[in-house]
Symmetry: C2
Subunit: 399 residues, 2 copies
């Protein structure tokens, strides 16, 4: 840096107006690096907390432990103690970790909070946690590589059915803007408590698609991530409801309204993007509640999608659901089957609490000779699985 | 919600896989509302921290206090004590606050951290703080209103000059996608330590433009927010450098490289968007280092921009800077003046540490009879001022 500029830069740093607030924080955190990933994939976490008496870390990189819940004992995240060093700097180094995107939090004298030295955070419903990526294997799909990148747009569409403008996240593949081609579309649906931000942040959709397309493993495609909560126009903080604490239970998410109006989403995409508006170029997939939506949307519009992905799908409603969308499930599935499709893909983790429900759903499909592919993975109802399911499903479609 | 679905939703909540991690956090925070803004614009902050001995809040909604720094006493953010109530719930209620977007942090036994009940966070360089908006007046421009919204795209462009693909944030106004019109373009540049995320998050650019356009106060325009750090392809975490702690001092930001290659940005926009590729439809503005870039770009390409906005601009380099871009500053300013322009707008806060430098710059402009408009506001080198400057400047351009 030029000598002449340096003192002014220093001045900038030292007296940075409001400024001082942000810069205090900057100085405080500047010396500490956390997390630090070694070449051997061990990860060191550090926290400067001279006044703390006990500092722990919790996260999905630690072995799970059994914890009590109203449902009995369930798997919970492990904890580990940081060790206090000189000047109040606490430290913990993990075992060598497998490639993965991990989440963690610190627990300082019983108070759970973020790592102030790691600004990479993701929100899951109302919880904000730090993340880090141990590269290699499938986790390299989650990294931004030096390859062509698609565009991620947050835009708004008109939903006549829901009588509102609604926010939606759209990934277009590298080269889309300049191309004269028409592209296939994957509609990708979030779970309960999620919104149009869930797949793009927690799901690493843009990174996964960029990487798979660059490797020639996935077809260039548009990925559409709508908001499945019919009472919201947008994610919390992004819509006219302003800032409020996101909730897991949102009214109306599984009463048929979303499915019945899903054509508003498809119409918007097909009239505003360069897409092949035909069944062979439409895929739909979703996780948990989004898997539920996927199953019902794809049979309610039974000749619309050639590729269907149910990721840890909630299999509901039962026979007593009354919305029109949920009537004659078996009949509409048969219609969907008779119309034909390329791939009906079901993925579920062995310890997922929806495991049994998914087995029942398979029996229902078996009973009507409806073909599907079934993938059973380790683990449960986690983003870790859903990122893998997206990586696998997106390689199977539009081919 | 349908009775039949409720137990399954509860099951979902109670045993939500990894799940339990996120959901623990959800339960823990669910009962506490913070911040809560009363109708009288008093704001109550709450924190559940039974083990804490002292909880304070700090933020720019509190009166500033004098704090020691290596530069002597400077303004720092005030602090206030929360009061411990039953069950370890701490609480503090502010005075009635003026309309504004505010930032704050909690200090728990000396440890500064976020409010776990408020998932609305913004990153400024490496610091992450909570935000809230007290509505009314100019702060209503920062809210998402029930009006038509533009699209915010994160895309990548090729910079032959910098020999890399670079990430860029582009706001297109409501109706852009369907329109046959061509639009004017505002190039909006961040300050030191910022990147292509700064204006859209800290600056509330999309909300300000949506609101001003809906009110008919600003012309529909494209706003382009590039990354001014020539060694980065993208914001930290969004580029091929992966996750790392953002720094305030980034090499090469003020050595002329960015200015000399700014035509790569303009070329990308003008060949990929529906824009009027003419001087009368180009504006450029920036804050601090971005104001510096604005001044130098607009005179280095002296017949390119009809509207120039210098927000709390860093006025450098001095006579001893050697990059070609910084040679013959007076001569190129004169050329820019002779070529003509519609508006040269300078905004600076009375307590900004760059106040004197901006007065010197005005004298330089006066000496060559170069016309400009000058706005002096309260306060210093703050996003609070830059949001207002953007709101004012964007109403003055393309008219």
């Amino acid at each position: 840096m030029k000598k002449s500029i340096l003192p002014i830069i220093l001045l900038l740093i030292l007296t940075f107006g409001s400024g001082v607030f942000a810069q205090e924080a900057l100085f405080r955190s500047q010396q500490v690096v956390s997390p630090e990933i070694s070449k051997g994939s061990k990860v060191t976490f550090r926290l400067l907390a001279p006044n703390a008496e006990k500092v722990q870390i919790t996260g999905d990189f630690l072995p799970t432990v059994k914890v009590d819940s109203p449902m009995g004992q369930v798997d919970g995240p492990g904890k580990a103690d940081l060790k206090k060093g000189e000047n109040g700097l606490w430290e913990f180094t993990s075992e060598a970790l497998d490639p993965e995107l991990y989440s963690y939090s610190f627990i300082i004298d019983g108070f759970t909070t973020i790592d102030p030295n790691n600004p990479f955070l993701i929100r899951d419903v109302a919880s904000v946690t730090n993340i880090f990526i141990v590269g290699g294997g499938h986790a390299d799909l989650y990294k931004v590589q030096d390859i062509p990148h698609g565009t991620v747009a947050r835009t708004w569409y008109d939903s006549p059915g829901l009588e509102m403008k609604r926010r939606i996240t759209v990934y277009t593949p590298p080269g889309y803007e300049k191309s004269n081609e028409k592209y296939p579309v994957l509609y990708l649906l979030h779970g309960a408590g999620g919104d149009e931000e869930a797949w793009i942040s927690l799901g690493r959709t843009a990174q996964i698609l960029d990487n798979l397309i660059a490797e020639g493993k996935a077809k260039p495609m548009i990925v559409v991530m709508p908001n499945g909560n019919v009472i919201q126009d947008a994610a919390p903080g992004e819509g006219s409801m302003g800032f409020y604490k996101p909730q897991f239970m949102i009214p109306g998410t599984m009463n048929g309204t979303y499915e019945a109006n899903f054509n508003d989403v498809v119409n918007f995409i097909e009239s505003n993007y360069k897409v092949k508006a035909e069944k062979s170029s439409r895929a739909i997939a979703g996780l948990s509640m989004g898997g539920f939506h996927t199953i019902h949307i794809s049979r309610y519009y039974p000749n619309t999608f050639d590729y269907i992905g149910a990721f840890s799908a909630a299999i509901m409603p039962r026979e007593d659901a009354t919305a029109k969308v949920y009537s004659d499930i078996e009949g509409t599935l048969k219609k969907q089957k008779d119309n034909g499709y390329q791939l009906y893909w079901i993925g579920i983790g062995k310890t997922d609490f929806l495991y049994d429900a998914n087995q029942e759903f398979k029996e229902m499909l078996n009973a009507i000779d409806m073909p599907y592919e079934y993938v059973e993975s380790e683990g449960g109802h986690t983003w870790r699985n859903w990122r893998v399911y997206l990586s696998e499903f997106s390689q199977r479609i539009f081919k």
